[in-house]
Structure formats: C-alpha cells, structure tokens
C-alpha cells in the first residue's frame, strides 16, 4: 500500500527554542517496496515514522495510507494507532517480559478477537516463517538478542498488516549478528508483498536493504532514489558525503561539451558526469576513494590524469587507505595491499568521468 505524506510539520519547544523535527515534509512511499529513511541522529526520521504509525501527532499536514487519510489537520481526522492496522518493530523490540513467545506473537490476533484455533494456526505459521518454531512456550526474555528481534518481527507480521515499520531494529545487535540479521530480514521481506518503512542511521544497512532510500536532514527530505542512484549519482553534497566516504573538491564549471561538464579545480581540469550547471558557477566535485585507482610513478599529462605524492598510509585489513597530495588538494584513496607504496612515493591516477560527480552545495 502506498503511503502519502503531504506538508507534514512537527515542532518541539524546548528551553524557549523551537526545534523543527519535521519541516513541511512531502513524500510518497511506493507500495510493496522496502523504503528507508536515512539520516544522522536528530534529523527527524524517527519522528516521521512515529507520525505514520500514529504514536506522534504532527502539527500540520496530511498522512494517507493506501488512499485512506489517517491524519489530517484540515479535515480534522486523527485515526489512533490501534485502528491503523500496521505492524511495527521497535528499536528495543518491546518484547513483553511477562509473556511467552506465543503470547507475544498472538497478542495482535487476540486483540482482534479471533478464534483460538485460527490464532494457533496463524502464530504457528508466522513463527515458522521467522524460523522460531518450537520456541512457543519460552519466556520471551529468555531469548538471545537476535531471537527477540525475530519475535518482534513475527508479532509485527502476524496480523498480515498492509504496512510494516522498522525503527532502527538492528542497532541493539553486535556487528556480526547485525549483518546476519540484515540478510535474514531482506530475505523475509523479499518473500512478502508488503510495504516496509525502515528507519536507520547506518548507511550500509540502508544500501543493502532498500529498494528506495530517502535521505533526511534537519527535518526535511534532501533526496530520494534507489541505492545506486544515491551512492553514485547523488545530487546534493550532503547526500554524497553522508552515504559513503567521499573526497569533496571545490570546483568551477568552465565548459559543457559532448556529454561532460568540465570543471577547473585544485586537481586541474576535470571532465565530469554531465550536470546542468551554468558555465562559471561554483560546484563541488565528489570522488569516491574506491574509484581513485593509483599507479606508481608519474604519468603523462592527459585528460583527467592527475599526479601526486603519497602523504600517509594506513593499513585497514582488506586495503591500504592512502592520503595523496595532488595539486592543492589532499585526497583519500583505497589501494590494493599488494601495491608496494611508501610515504613520499610519486603516484598518479586517471579519473573516469562517470565517477566524477558534481553535487550542489
């Protein structure tokens, strides 16, 4: 089901200051997709999620789920969370400690006054789906973090909601378990035809899980798009910087020619992916470290070829992170550990215009 958010604002007042948690957000979340709200902490992503589910009341705007308006200031509609028919996985899982696994998962069905036999059957099927069969009579608190997480997922799914919401569900797991659970979650959601809204501040999680990502900053949506678009082709400097490691270089547009936008920068003249920026305007050139492929020694001057010198080297396991001084800039590059480099070595690299990204500031 599609979720439509229109002009939603929410302000908090704290110590005499107004905090804009949501600042006139308009957004359409397409049906049957995994949609991620990504942003630094305090950007309003959790507030937006809680507005969708009904735990938070916006100040202005309208929210519709699957064509039904669930909240509207102007039409004076406010459907309480218990009547929105959604599923939600909380950051703390919110597993009720006084109930067994079965009771936790059965609760949404019991509240809907379903018959006992139906409940038993549905809970059994859902627990099987999240691979927790046989855990029915365990006290819910006697489970590992990953298992509690799956109980929370089962509880959110059991009533077959139109939409399921996730509020940073993996942030309480340790790194290794987080990666496993993320894969599992992706597999689970892939099997269901369901709209999933996922909130996180972890960019890897967002890239790995989502069909679409919306990046938020200071209560507003900055950019929306599929993961590859966000990573490789971001329009905003903030997005390019937030979604991955990036070298940001100040540049000025000097020409627009056969499919490239050419800029003058501290690295020299660089042909970039085409953007509609007028000649003479300022822009920021974004270079991902993994696309700066260096070779030893100086190279012949040519289009998009840059020479420089190794300033420092850090071994991080699968690669060396190398700082290169090139022209007036200092760039970070990822280098294969086989390449024997030391500080002070002359190096060069050529840049593929497809990976030279101009972003607006």
């Amino acid at each position: 089901m599609e979720i439509r958010i229109e002009g939603v604002s929410k302000h908090y007042y704290s110590e005499g200051k107004v905090i804009k948690a949501l600042d006139d957000v308009t957004l359409t979340i397409p049906a049957n997709e995994i949609f991620t709200l990504l942003g630094p902490s305090g950007c309003g992503k959790t507030t937006l999620l809680r507005c969708i589910v009904g735990l938070e009341t916006p100040d202005r705007g309208e929210i519709a789920i699957g064509g039904e308006v669930v909240w509207s200031k102007d039409k004076n509609i406010a459907v309480p969370p218990e009547e929105r028919g959604l599923g939600m996985v909380f950051q703390t899982y919110a597993i009720w400690p006084h109930m067994t696994v079965f009771d936790n998962v059965a609760y949404p069905l019991q509240v809907r006054k379903m018959r006992r036999s139906v409940i038993r059957e549905k809970v059994g099927r859902t627990l099987q789906f999240v691979r927790l069969e046989g855990f029915e009579n365990r006290p819910a608190t006697k489970l590992s973090g990953g298992q509690q997480q799956r109980v929370a997922l089962a509880r959110a799914l059991v009533a077959e909601p139109k939409v399921i919401l996730f509020d940073e569900p993996l942030s309480n797991l340790d790194a290794k378990l987080r990666e496993e659970t993320r894969k599992e979650l992706k597999a689970f959601l892939g099997k269901l035809k369901i709209t999933a809204v996922y909130v996180t501040h972890d960019r890897v999680e967002a890239l790995a899980l989502s069909d679409t990502i919306a990046i938020m900053r200071a209560g507003a949506i900055v950019e929306v798009g599929p993961p590859t678009k966000i990573y490789f082709n971001a329009d905003h400097e903030f997005v390019a910087d937030f979604i991955g490691r990036a070298n940001l270089v100040k540049a000025r547009v000097v020409a627009q020619d056969d499919g490239h936008t050419v800029v003058e920068s501290g690295l020299g003249r660089i042909a970039c992916q085409r953007r509609d920026i007028p000649v003479g305007a300022q822009a920021t050139l974004c270079l991902r470290p993994e696309f700066i492929r260096i070779v030893k020694g100086e190279a012949e001057r040519g289009a998009n070829v840059v020479s420089g010198e190794v300033e420092s080297l850090v071994f991080v396991g699968e690669a060396y992170e190398v700082e290169i001084r090139a022209g007036t800039e200092r760039l970070l590059a990822k280098v294969d550990p086989d390449l024997e480099l030391k500080e002070g070595d002359p190096v060069s690299f050529s840049l593929d215009p497809a990976h030279c990204l101009l972003v607006s500031t």
């Binding site: 735990l55 939600m88 919110a94 949404p108």
Partner: protein
C-alpha cells in the same frame, strides 16, 4: 584474602549478629518459659493460654482486615499517583515529590492524633464543623473504627509505596505500551494487559512492604483503634504488658512470635520479588521522550485530587496540631476561638519535667544514636559491597534481617535480654535497640554510595602507596559524604520519633517524645500533646537542615 578484611568481616558478623539475633532468640526462649526474670522449665503454657483466649479470633480478623485494607489503599493510591506523574500531562509535577517526601517528616503518632482530632465522634473539629453547616444531630464520621484505622494507616504508608512504584513506572520502557497500541489494543486494554502486568513485581513488592509495616504499626492501632476498642495483634500484645498489675511478657512473646514469623516470611518474599523485577528489565531504549497521555478535560479534576491528597497528608495534620495547641479546648475555628488563643499549653509542656526529660532523651538518642549507627553502617556497607566473600554474604543477610522486625515484638525480646543486664531501664538500652532495628536504613544509602565508588578509584590510591586506612580517609569517605548525610538524616529522624520499640523499653527516667505523646493521648490532654508534637516536628526538621548544611560544607572543603 586479605587478613585485615577477613577479621573486619567476622567482627562485624559478631556485632550485627548479636544485635539482630539476640532479641529474636530471647523472644523464642521467652515464649517457652514461665516468667521474665527466671526462665524456668520449658513450657507451652503461654502459647496455649494466648491462642485459646476467645478474644484472639477477633483480634486476628481485625489485624488481617486492617493490614490488607491499608496496604491496598496505599498501593492503589501510589499506583494512581505514579501513573499520573509519569504518563500524563498533569500540571505542577513538583507536587508529587513533596507528597513522597514530606509526610516522612511527620511522626506517625502525630499524624494519627491529628486525624483523631479532626474526626473523633464527640468533638472532632471537622465533625463539629459539618454538624454546624448541615444542621446534623450526630457526628457524620467516627474515626475510632476499623475503617478509620485503614484510612490513616493507608495514608501513612502511601509515601513508601510511592517510592517503590514510581521508579519502576519511570524506568518502564514506553515502547512496550506503544507496541501494544500498534498491535490494535486501546489505552485501557494496554493498561490491563501490558502496563500493570509488567509492573507486577513492583506493585507486589510495595503491597508486601505495606503489609509488613501494617503488622508492625503501633501508632494507628493505639491512638485510633484502642479508643474504639478495635484491637489488632500489636495492641493486644501491648495490653498484655502494659495494662493491669501483672504484665505477662511470656504471653506477649507468644503473640509476638506469630507476627514476627509472618513479617520475616513476607520480607523474604519481598526480596525475591525485587530480584525478579530486576530480571524483568529488558533492553532499554536510548530514552526517546515518551508521548504523554493527554488528560484533556480530566486535567484539572485530576490535579484537584492530587492537591486534595497533599492537603490531607501534609497541611491538615500540622495545621490541626498547631491550632489545637493554642485553643483551651476542642472547638470549631471561629472568632471566639481566636480570641481565646494563648500559649498556655506550650508553657505547661515546657514546665512539665517529664516532657522536658523526654525531649532531652529523644534529642540525645537522635544525635548520638544516629552517629553511632552510621559509623557501624559504614563498615557493614563497605564489607557488603567491596569485600564480597561468602562471609560478607552472611553479613548482608544478617544486616537486612531486622528490616522485617516489628518494633513492639522485638522490644519484648530485648526486654528479656536487658533484664539480665545492668543496661535495663537506662537510655543505653533504647540506643542499642534503636540501632539494631533501624540498621538497614543506615546501610541502604551507604551501600548504594559504596557501589558508586568504583574499585579503580580505591586501587589507584593503593598503587600510589597509600594504606587501607589512608585510602578510606582520603578517597572513600569524601566520596561517601552524600550517602553518609542521608543515612544520618534517616536514622536521626527515625530515632527522634521512635514509638514502637520505646513503648516497651522506655521506663520512668527514660521517657522519649513519642511515648510521652502517647501518654497525653491516652489522658486526652490534646493541647499539651499538640504543643509537644509541634516541638517534635521542629526538632526533626532542624536535624535534617543541620545535617544537610554540614554535609555541604564538608564537600566544599574537600573540593577546595
């Protein structure tokens, strides 16, 4: 294991063991023997006599109704207040802190007396006023009933119940409620199915603690129950030793045994429950500010309920005592009453040698007793928190045992003990008894203070070359000051107002304030009683202020 620490642990076990176990052992022995001065042969006669007495059935029924009723009232009110404070947008939340702390400063015996002054059937101020206003023939309320006792005891136990339930409510992960609402449950269903069950350990713990306090309560049963001839076990026991010409300590011990056994069992359950409630703690969130429930139209009425409670808990008792201390006899406040006001009762009390003696004794017990009690508690808390051997575990169990002791029962046990010693009828007997019973109140704040002094702070002092004593003096004690101050305040205020143990152990020459007030109440000398009561509250308050000031200065010096 460090031998000095081991020696310290074992000497503390001996001291605390003697203090807590001696009265119990003496009580058991006493209940099986013939008389107070000579133990004589082993006999079951006292048990048979006491428990075949036809009056005992009524006493037990009264006790059960009184204790359960007041605990229900206190826990229910506490739950209501804690929910309002933590979950709703009720205005003036500062009031809740006042309700939970200030009533502890008003001694139970005075609180009971103030309600007797307001609602007694013959000349209770409130009754007289209602009669005038509505033109009634008879007084509408009679406090001297089982229901009156339940009301007053329930209000007295409200702060302690609130202090147990409110933190549990505050640390409650709101996501547990939110996920229930998202699952489709409305507010009421969420309250019944999720909120209350998750809080169950805290609710039960508060209820049980109230039951134990109700069993040990003597102020309410004596001031409110006895004039209405409603007897509970505590007053029944008191009758056996204080009324008539031949006090029978054997029978009293036999009655006390059942109270003591119940209390000890309940405290055991209580400690198991508090351990369980810690187990109930799930992963807690980063503290997203929970959405509060909007009371909307109920906001002002709910606030009025809370305001009314704070008036009857704090303002009314003090006001009625002050008023009564100034008027010559019970009368409704009026122009005539104000014209008759004088300081006569105050002058009478300060001229009365026994009242002055009781004042001196109580201040002495408060200051000296609390100081000695805190010194002992520091060592005990240190061993419990920092030594952590099996012996330290024994010490911990021993030191919390007296938490369950009903004062009047243990007092009978101490009586059997002190009669054999030269301490009998001296102020030192009271001092030892007080410290023995109230030790947990000193140990608790100090052990939480010790928990906060991280082992590394201590260890780095040792590595720097300081010995154990220097480390204690230079590092640990300064960090402990807040804990020391609150332990001292708790003990001192409890000692100044102590009634239940004193009522057994106090003899001519060792009168204390609370007992003197009880005597005035028995004789119906309300004016003098009120004057002495206000002085008592003033002393408690002064001690609290003094201790706070001294504690603050000590910390400033250390910081400079």
């Amino acid at each position: 294991m460090d031998p000095t620490r081991s020696r310290l642990t074992w000497s503390l076990i001996v001291i605390v063991g003697v203090l807590t176990l001696c009265p119990v052992v003496m009580l058991v022995l006493g209940s099986f023997s013939e008389g107070l001065t000579a133990f004589g042969k082993f006999t079951l006669a006292k048990y048979v006599e006491v428990y075949t007495d036809p009056a005992i059935a009524d006493v037990i029924v009264n006790t059960v109704v009184f204790v359960l009723g007041s605990s229900l009232l206190a826990t229910g009110l506490a739950l209501f207040l804690a929910y309002l404070n933590n979950r709703t947008d009720i205005p003036f939340k500062g009031l809740f802190k006042v309700i939970s702390i200030i009533p502890m400063m008003i001694p139970h015996v005075l609180f009971s007396v103030s309600w007797a002054l307001l609602l007694n059937p013959s000349n209770g101020t409130l009754n007289l006023a209602l009669k005038q206003v509505f033109g009634l023939d008879a007084a509408p309320f009679n406090i001297y009933t089982l229901w009156g006792m339940i009301l007053v005891e329930g209000l007295l136990d409200l702060p302690i119940a609130y202090l147990i339930i409110a933190p549990a409510m505050a640390s409650f992960d709101v996501a547990l409620e939110e996920s229930s609402r998202v699952s489709g449950a409305k507010t009421w269903r969420t309250l019944v199915r999720i909120t209350l069950p998750v809080l169950r350990p805290a609710i039960l713990a508060s209820f049980i603690l109230c039951v134990v306090r109700g069993l040990a309560s003597f102020a309410v049963p004596s001031v409110i129950g006895m004039p209405g001839r409603v007897y509970v076990l505590a007053t029944h026991l008191y009758d056996l030793i204080a009324k008539g010409f031949a006090p029978d300590y054997g029978k009293a011990a036999a009655v006390g045994m059942s109270v003591l056994a119940t209390s000890v069992t309940l405290i055991y359950v209580y400690r198991a429950l508090t351990a369980e409630s810690e187990r109930y703690v799930t992963i807690s969130s980063r503290g997203f500010r929970p959405a509060v429930i909007e009371l909307k139209g109920a906001r002002i009425p709910m606030f009025l309920v809370v305001g009314f409670l704070s008036v009857i808990l704090i303002v009314l008792p003090v006001a009625v005592l002050f008023y009564t201390s100034l008027v010559p006899y019970s009368m409704v406040p009026s122009a005539r009453a104000f014209s008759l006001m004088s300081w006569r009762h105050w002058i009478d009390v300060l001229d009365d040698p026994i009242s002055v003696l009781s004042l001196k004794n109580s201040v002495f017990l408060g200051v000296v007793g609390a100081t000695l009690g805190v010194v002992l508690s520091v060592f005990v808390a240190y061993v419990i928190v920092k030594v952590r051997t099996r012996a330290a575990g024994i010490l911990e169990s021993l030191s919390y045992l007296s938490f369950s002791f009903p004062g009047i029962v243990v007092g009978v046990g101490f009586m059997w003990f002190f009669v054999q010693t030269p301490l009998y009828a001296t102020i030192w007997a009271l001092l030892i008894g007080y410290i023995a019973i109230y030790m947990p109140y000193g140990i608790r704040p100090l052990s939480s203070a010790f928990v906060q002094v991280h082992a590394h702070l201590e260890e780095s002092s040792l590595v720097c070359g300081a010995g154990h004593l220097t480390t204690m003096r230079r590092i640990i004690v300064p960090l402990l000051v807040p804990g020391l101050v609150s332990a001292w305040i708790l003990m001192a205020t409890m000692f100044v107002r102590e009634l239940t143990l004193s009522v057994v152990l106090s003899r001519p020459g060792t009168e204390v304030l609370a007992v003197q007030i009880l005597r005035f109440a028995e004789d119906g000398l309300w004016g003098k009683l009120s004057a002495l009561g206000i002085i008592m509250i003033a002393i408690s308050t002064t001690l609290v202020v003094l201790a706070t000031v001294v504690g603050a200065r000590f910390r400033v010096v250390e910081a400079a």
